[in-house]
Assembly symmetry: C2
Homo-oligomer: 377 residues x 2
């Protein structure tokens, strides 16, 4: 575990009178990867006690886990009773659950803490086969990850610059005349891959079906195009998230919506600073859109602004905090999106999004680009 | 849900006297994606009853889920009490759990089935706040996915051909003189991306650290190189998995190990057919390696052949069945790897792997390439 995170976990274990915090995950799980610095395809047990953190891995991963992870101690299933338990139970998952439980009992464990997504096959087994108390807590690493270190900010800043370069590349391809959404996406994603970024399910969408915010797009580009680009650095693992609506042909309704969304985004960004409540930002964004005559989800509408104002960005493209109707306060060092949008079946959708860094007295936009983009300019 | 899978789920619900089988997942979960045909970034509830299957999604995904998934009915959290529950609980996960439970109760639910990886925050909430019986079963879709349809076989065959082309490309780059593992990996992964395949964490490893089977490799290529390539088609979603050990410089020990591994692989492949026990294949592979004087994990050794003989390949690179010490029988239509390897700290590791299709009287190799690869040939 990173040294700076040890005391937080210690505090949580002591407060909850628990001997372990457990995760069962692979490195696609950002909390696992953040905690262990270990790349692994298959899920393994990660256990943190007051004294040390430990991985329990298959034999084939023992040496690599010892060399490559930042974890204090590595156990192989081969050292524990896994083989015998597999023979006895005839089932890999039962054998794993039994082996892990024996492992925990060896430490005299009376209580373990688990994150919300901890798999039921393990939590049920522990509950049904021991007197160990099993309690769910918010994943402390998710909370830690929300406030970025200097290094992490630099990584997200780098990805943000790559996003802007990539969007400029997309505009160049559009100006050359390419109008097929799938070809535009393929070219853009290949561009990013060649620069060291993984971009998947990039939204390059046009027409009325843009009224579905996550419609990735197909067919030809018509009057307007939504490009929602969220690459992950292959090197650092950090994302950025960015959306612009490109106007190809004047269209009153879409342009009015875009105006309103840009105003709402600017208002949202102007409010972001250390200590502000997430709900204040979301409500200010909704206020502007409602003042302009549009609908919002806070009034339970099914069209208009039908999602949250934003979310954290880091090792995941969607992570804590959520900028929605919660009382959670933003903190310096958080990196969040501000992304109002409007969606009507009759006209289609528009969205404008930046990734910003929360600071003491404001925020810094990490994906700097003009808000309104006209292709013919 | 795909029509051909409906009766299997019905049978399971009836046998277990349950009203629902539940999944809580996003489309990175192959079982969810296989069942719903729906691409979604954030986790949602997928519920299958005797009459229909249903998704419960955020409002912003309602129309897209209706249009793009193969699911019978789509509910939005906006239709249910989510907003009120969020206000009441102040916590997204509690609000989701409460909303889902109310949803299940509306159907008069007395018992639900969940897969092993179902998150504990939901299963605990259901158990603690209702009399609904919650029972874990093996995920039926994981079992269904193990036996491939004709379409799926074609998809995996396509990826297999791409793998062989990609490996030929890698050999060409090696012959041109490139000896940096990271540059070789970057070039190979970019090649695959440009052909429509996503390849990540490709193993291009050399030297003694190849004694860790999943060491991805860095530094210079020395006497031998392990290339373990497992691309996923961006179009179909299906993987193939392939490994060759390339000899650059004669080395007695490594060549002896490679000989043994090739013999073991050929023996494994010769045994694969409908009805054969997985453990028979694994044991035959171990026998050959032990006869040649090498160690195996079945005797609890920490060096030698320290992993299983193979695994299923499909929408996941590791899926059912496992070719290890289980009594499970292979079936026609399964696609599995055969990948013996030998790993010694003193010498490094070698591995040879093919993806094969199980047939009635044998198997078909889907990644055809000669077993022994000498760069100077």
């Amino acid at each position: 575990m990173r040294k700076e995170n040890v005391s937080e976990i210690e505090k949580i274990l002591k407060e909850n009178k628990a001997q372990f915090f457990l995760q069962y995950a692979n490195s696609n799980d950002a909390n696992f990867y953040y905690a262990t610095d270990f790349q692994i395809c298959d899920a393994v047990l990660y256990a943190i006690s007051l004294n040390e953190d430990m991985l329990v891995v298959p034999e084939m991963e023992r040496n690599r886990a010892t060399r490559e992870s930042n974890v204090d101690r590595v156990y192989s299933l081969n050292d524990l009773n896994f083989t015998e338990n597999l023979k006895e139970t005839g089932n890999v998952q039962s054998a794993l659950a039994k082996t892990y439980l024996e492992f925990l009992k060896n430490f005299g464990t009376k209580k373990v803490l688990i994150p919300p997504d901890f798999p039921s096959f393990l939590s049920f087994y522990f509950k049904n086969n021991s007197r160990i108390d099993v309690e769910i807590i918010d994943n402390p690493f998710a909370k830690m990850r929300a406030v970025k270190t200097e290094d992490e900010i630099e990584f997200i800043r780098e990805t943000g610059k790559a996003v802007v370069d990539g969007f400029n590349y997309l505009l160049k391809v559009l100006k050359r005349g390419e109008r097929d959404c799938n070809k535009l996406r393929d070219k853009l994603e290949l561009y990013f891959f060649s620069k060291g970024y993984l971009c998947r399910n990039t939204i390059i969408a046009s027409g009325e079906r843009t009224s579905d915010p996550h419609f990735t797009g197909d067919g030809r580009v018509e009057k307007h195009l939504i490009a929602d680009i969220f690459p992950k650095s292959k090197n650092t693992g950090y994302y950025s998230d960015f959306t612009r609506t490109v106007i190809l042909e004047k269209d009153g309704e879409i342009e009015d919506m875009l105006d309103a969304v840009i105003d709402a985004k600017n208002r949202g960004i102007s409010l972001i600073k250390d200590g502000v409540k997430a709900s204040n930002i979301h409500n200010a964004v909704c206020d502007i859109l409602e003042e302009r005559g549009y609908h919002t989800l806070r009034k339970k509408h099914r069209e208009g602004f039908i999602h949250s104002t934003g979310h954290g960005v880091g090792l995941e493209v969607h992570e804590k905090p959520s900028i929605y109707n919660s009382d959670e306060k933003l903190k310096s060092g958080m990196v969040v999106t501000v992304e109002p949008g409007l969606y009507y079946r009759k006209w289609g959708g528009v969205r404008v999004e930046d990734t910003v860094l929360v600071k003491k007295n404001g925020c810094e936009i990490l994906t700097k680009f003009k808000n309104r983009v006209d292709l013919d300019e």
